[in-house]
């Protein structure tokens, strides 16, 4: 049993500035595989909201037809090209639509691969996969439309099992304000136990809207998959 939760709320700063939510989140489940994806459009780029939306669609469409064992560089090149083609087809310059990328891509047994370009956090209740160096001074330096370097990506493998049965993707609007990522994840998973996706989403949205950090401004998005939960 797999349970997927995704939610995104617009940041107060974007409401004040009359800007759209620049984050996008998504997931799919297909032929024994699944993926959760979160993308954060770069604030200074005028069409980054569209860039992040296209990224979700591009990554989903490519991963659905890609061999799970494909080399990381091949996988990234495929969906990056798909994103570029889609962006250009809408007469948008890639540099105007820059977006970060967080992906967890797995199978029904719990094995997963993760990919990250730019900021945000990928973690379970026991492991923070995002490298420490990415968690320094709001390292919002790169994304699709900006990076051409494979070395800009962080990536790896993991396995969901036992009590460590859920993985979270958080855009920086959430991750930068969290003081204990594993504690946050653990509390969220405990809350989610035996609850419906709809109830978890409603709870989570309320938490994100009533965010306690003073002067927080950013959009906040989270995607989560839970393995072997009953509901």
């Amino acid at each position: 049993m797999l349970k997927f939760i995704k939610t995104s709320v617009i940041g107060p700063g974007h409401i004040v500035d009359d800007l759209p939510n620049q984050d996008s989140v998504g997931y799919f489940r297909s032929n024994g595989y699944w993926a959760i994806i979160a993308c954060d459009g770069m604030g200074s780029r005028p069409l980054s909201n569209i860039g992040s939306q296209i990224a979700i669609q591009s990554i989903k469409s490519v991963l659905k037809v890609t061999d799970f064992r494909s080399p990381a560089k091949t996988v990234i090149a495929e969906f990056y090209q798909c994103w570029l083609d889609a962006v250009k087809s809408r007469m948008i310059k890639p540099n105007d639509a820059v977006t970060t990328v967080l992906i967890a891509w797995g199978d029904n047994s719990g094995d997963f691969r993760w990919f990250q370009l730019g900021d945000g956090i990928i973690c379970t209740r026991e492991v923070v996969y995002t490298p420490k160096s990415k968690d320094e001074f709001s390292n919002f330096t790169t994304g699709l439309g900006l990076s051409k370097n494979f070395n800009d990506w962080s990536l790896g493998y993991g396995r969901l099992s036992g009590t460590d049965n859920s993985i979270l993707l958080m855009t920086d609007g959430i991750s930068e304000d969290i003081t204990d990522h594993s504690g946050f994840t653990d509390a969220l998973i405990k809350f989610s136990h035996n609850k419906s996706s709809r109830r978890i989403k409603k709870y989570l949205k309320n938490q994100l809207i009533h965010w306690p950090t003073p002067f927080h401004t950013d959009d906040k998005s989270l995607a989560m998959v839970i393995l072997n939960d009953k509901k």
Partner: protein
């Protein structure tokens, strides 16, 4: 159940660290007086900012005779006054670099959730200590590398090669202050740029220094047609 206990209850800081040469030579031609007034004006402006996106914090490290933390990193709105800088002694830049590195690498004082710090080095002379090792340690440290580093060269005797090495903003080259009023202009540019940056949509991106609204007359060898 609430997730709030895992979320920071303080706003994200934007640290501004000033490394100020307060050696004896700063006492002539009104330089130290201009620097004192510039710092007071800058802190006052920062303290009046609405803190809508970031809370500006300021630290001042001086190096004149010896290096010391003149003002620990403090939210600008909590700074009631700053003690006068007094110009005296040699120019121990190396000592100042050690203090700056200790500050910027201290995650208790500058947490990872801070916006990229801005570090400003200003000097009117050559370092008088064996500075190169400490200087290189500072500018090559991981956190100082990510910071925006700006430099101000004061007068004709400043060591521009050191200041150029410190500056890591290729689009805002070394600023030259030919006289005391240029010091004030530089700080006005920094104040306006940091204030605008703290209110921008993306205060986590690298600070872009804009001299365009405060510069009168000639500026170094660059026309500063800054594209930001």
């Amino acid at each position: 159940m609430s997730l709030k206990k895992f979320v920071a209850n303080k706003p994200r800081p934007l640290p501004v660290i000033i490394m100020a040469d307060t050696s004896g030579s700063m006492s002539i031609e009104g330089k130290i007086a201009s620097l004192n007034q510039s710092l007071r004006d800058m802190i006052k402006s920062f303290s009046e900012e609405g803190r809508t996106r970031a809370e500006i914090h300021v630290a001042v490290i001086t190096f004149g005779g010896s290096a010391q933390v003149h003002l620990p990193l403090t939210p600008a709105h909590q700074i009631n006054q700053i003690d006068e800088l007094i110009a005296t002694g040699g120019t121990p830049l190396g000592e100042a670099c050690l203090l700056a590195k200790d500050l910027i690498e201290n995650k208790e004082i500058i947490s990872s959730r801070a916006y990229r710090p801005v570090i400003i080095l200003l000097s009117d002379g050559n370092p008088t200590d064996n500075y190169s090792s400490a200087f290189n340690e500072l500018i090559n440290s991981e956190r100082a590398n990510k910071a925006t580093r700006l430099a101000l060269s004061i007068g004709a005797d400043a060591d521009d090669s050191v200041l150029n090495d410190f500056n890591n903003d290729l689009e805002a080259p070394l600023f030259y202050a030919k006289n005391a009023s240029d010091i004030h202009r530089f700080f006005r540019a920094v104040t306006m740029s940091v204030s605008n940056h703290s209110k921008s949509q993306a205060p986590n991106e690298r600070l872009k220094l804009d001299f365009s609204e405060v510069v009168e007359g000639e500026l170094a060898d660059d026309d500063f047609e800054l594209d930001f």
